[in-house]
């Protein structure tokens, strides 16, 4: 039997359902990891040594343990402590926590790159510390870190394929089912490989466009 992609045609709607789930999970995890990343980045650049130490440990631990181990920790562990949630929310939570570690690093770099003069000006103007963070530091830091955030998002999309191991039928999970039904695994997974490459290509293109749009007035300063 040769290479024949046409057998995939009638399974396309099913695969698109998987793609939809992948999209939903990734958007949820992206939102979660950005919120978590902002909080952790604030802690890592805070004046308090305790907050700095704790947040550094969080980033270190979640960057150095494989995602699948973290995922199993939550998937098998949460019911143990009486939290019964389905695979999809578990996956979004695990992806957000793992992604938060990377996001916080990106946002921290953005915060550290801000000129001290801007912060001094804000302090002299009599703004409260909270106002300085939310209205001065954060907008500048987020604006400069859009491109690296795009790289984190691409990684989120790729990592979301691991969720198929906890019975979540996202794109990879549904491809597994199609491969088992048609018994043409090579065609299915080759098509899936291309599909993921296109998806990540689109995601990084989107973030590139966002970066150009947000930084359109400062084109000279922010390369």
């Amino acid at each position: 039997m040769g290479f024949d992609l046409s057998i995939l045609a009638k399974h396309v709607p099913f695969l698109l359902e998987g793609l939809w789930l992948t999209t939903v999970v990734c958007l949820g995890a992206l939102a979660g990891s950005i919120v978590l990343g902002i909080v952790v980045a604030a802690c890592r650049t805070a004046a308090s040594p305790l907050a700095r130490r704790l947040s550094a440990i969080y980033v270190d631990v979640f960057r150095n343990i494989p995602f699948i181990v973290q995922l199993f920790f939550f998937y098998f562990g949460l019911p143990e402590v009486g939290i019964y949630i389905e695979a999809a929310p578990t996956g979004i939570i695990a992806l957000s926590i793992a992604g938060g570690a990377y996001t916080s690093d990106v946002i921290r770099a953005g915060i550290l790159a801000i000129e001290p003069g801007i912060l001094e000006a804000a302090e002299v103007s009599g703004l409260t510390r909270r106002k300085i963070f939310t209205m001065v530091i954060l907008p500048i830091a987020l604006r400069t870190s859009i491109r690296p955030l795009g790289a984190v998002c691409v990684n989120l999309v790729l990592t979301s394929s691991v969720l198929s191991t906890i019975t979540l039928n996202e794109l990879t999970g549904s491809a597994k089912i199609v491969a088992a039904e048609t018994f043409r695994p090579f065609e299915v997974y080759a098509a899936l490989l291309i599909a993921y490459a296109c998806l990540t290509y689109a995601v990084s293109g989107l973030f590139g466009a966002l970066h150009r749009h947000v930084n359109r007035h400062t084109a000279g300063e922010v390369a």
Binding site: N64, V154, V162, Y196
Partner: protein
């Protein structure tokens, strides 16, 4: 009869899993590193057609989930080419290919980081192309690349955890087996996570030691 308690033998089991993980990590790093370097040299010498092929392949491998690549090799290749692959063989092929793609990118940027003047100077001295590559480019490129390479290796160590999905009895799979037997997810996954964490830290430490040695010649030695 069911053994739901932990036994001393479980430690042996965990260490066995760790040794399988380490073995595949080292083997795929060596093979992938050699392949990636070969790709980079192909690009450096601008070999026609092969260069575009290598670049496209690297992009595809970088932008698709390792899990899908594993499925393609383990389930797809045997059906298409009518061969038999054991899970370990499939894992070795996939991980090596994936490592090669990332090593290629790092090696290319490391070679490009060396200024043209040095190569021109070496040519003026009448060194052959091979001597230039070995004596001028390689030592400097290695010193430049060792940082990113360490980061890559720490990442690839975590990627090896995915091979448990196709049935290789690595550290993650051992964790899965222990988890199903004892039903104590928090202890099992915390121990597995800790083992991965320590291994990753060891790799990072070795990388930073090596980096310091390779960069020793640039240190200020005093007048």
């Amino acid at each position: 009869m069911r053994y739901t308690e932990f036994t001393p033998y479980d430690i042996v089991l965990l260490l066995q899993g760790l040794s399988v993980t380490l073995w595949l990590f080292v083997a795929s790093t060596l093979i992938g590193g050699a392949l990636g370097l070969g790709f980079a040299v192909v690009r450096y010498y601008r070999v026609l057609l092969l260069r575009q092929l290598v670049h496209g392949l690297a992009e595809l491998l970088k932008n698709s989930p390792v899990l899908v690549q594993l499925f393609l090799v383990f389930f797809g290749l045997p059906v298409l080419m009518k061969i038999n692959l054991t899970p370990s063989q499939a894992a070795l092929i996939t991980l090596s290919g994936n490592t090669a793609a990332f090593v290629y990118v790092i090696a290319v940027s490391a070679i490009e980081a060396i200024s043209r003047d040095q190569i021109e100077a070496a040519r003026v001295f009448g060194l052959t192309r091979w001597t230039i590559l070995r004596r001028v480019i390689a030592p400097q490129a290695l010193a430049f690349a060792i940082g990113p390479l360490t980061g890559l290796l720490v990442n690839q160590l975590q990627v090896t955890s995915l091979i448990s999905v196709i049935g290789v009895i690595d550290l993650t799979k051992v964790g899965h087996i222990l988890n199903l037997r004892t039903l104590k997810p928090f202890i099992v996954w915390a121990v597995v996570g800790a083992l991965y964490y320590l291994t990753a830290k060891a790799v990072a430490y070795a990388g930073s030691r090596l980096e310091r040695r390779l960069r020793a010649h640039t240190d200020w030695k005093g007048v």
